[in-house]
Symmetry: C2
Subunit: 106 residues, 2 copies
Amino acid sequence: MKRGLSEACYKFFSNMSNPTRLAVLEKLMEKPMSVNELADALKQEQSMVSHNLKQLLECNFITQQRRGKQRIYSANQETIGALLKILDNHAQKYCPTGGKCHLRGD
Amino acid sequence: MKRGLSEACYKFFSNMSNPTRLAVLEKLMEKPMSVNELADALKQEQSMVSHNLKQLLECNFITQQRRGKQRIYSANQETIGALLKILDNHAQKYCPTGGKCHLRGD
DNA sequence: ATTACATATGAGATATTATTCATATATAAA
DNA sequence: TTTATATATGAATAATATCTCATATGTAAT
């Protein structure tokens, strides 16, 4: 089902709704990293990390810059930071521990 | 791949990353509605709307209240409103028309 | 120009998620 | 207490997204 604003939002949120990409973003919020650094840190295959970086890049959740042979990726602090803030606020207010909501890592 | 904060965020974002649920939220941001009103408005099957309402409810993106035989659903204006604001800001700044990003409904 | 290293990418296999259909439950009215 | 209406739910199917593997590309050093 695709239409209107919903369709417009869909790419945004679906890009965020993947554990690998979220883990990548989490790392990149700390500091910029290369593909292999990310792959090592997350214990994931380089190709998988690359695939997911590409998607994050398409929505400009991250940016890229070259350093020698490497590509250094950085998080879009503005957007990602704001999202995490909302998520945190929502979880605190609306997702008490023990409920059906698994937001808080239970 | 599931872990830490990433896992905590995952349910939040994956719940939002579905065209039907986004369409439902869009409608509910305008005004509270019953299941059949939503189904009519979105031209979707009642059972499908119900399934998706259930998921939105699990993350408290919406609330429920009974009115006779009906169940009236309302959006969590605080969280959903904040998310849409960020999305809008992000799209304006980082997703110029014509790029690879399809956020703005192109 | 050959080699090594870092990253990207395509395509198939797999996993996840959504949708549909049939049916159950719950409320209220007759 | 039967019937009608509103909604929920389980299970099978369909659609979509992810991951893996093989390999390509791009950069720099020798």
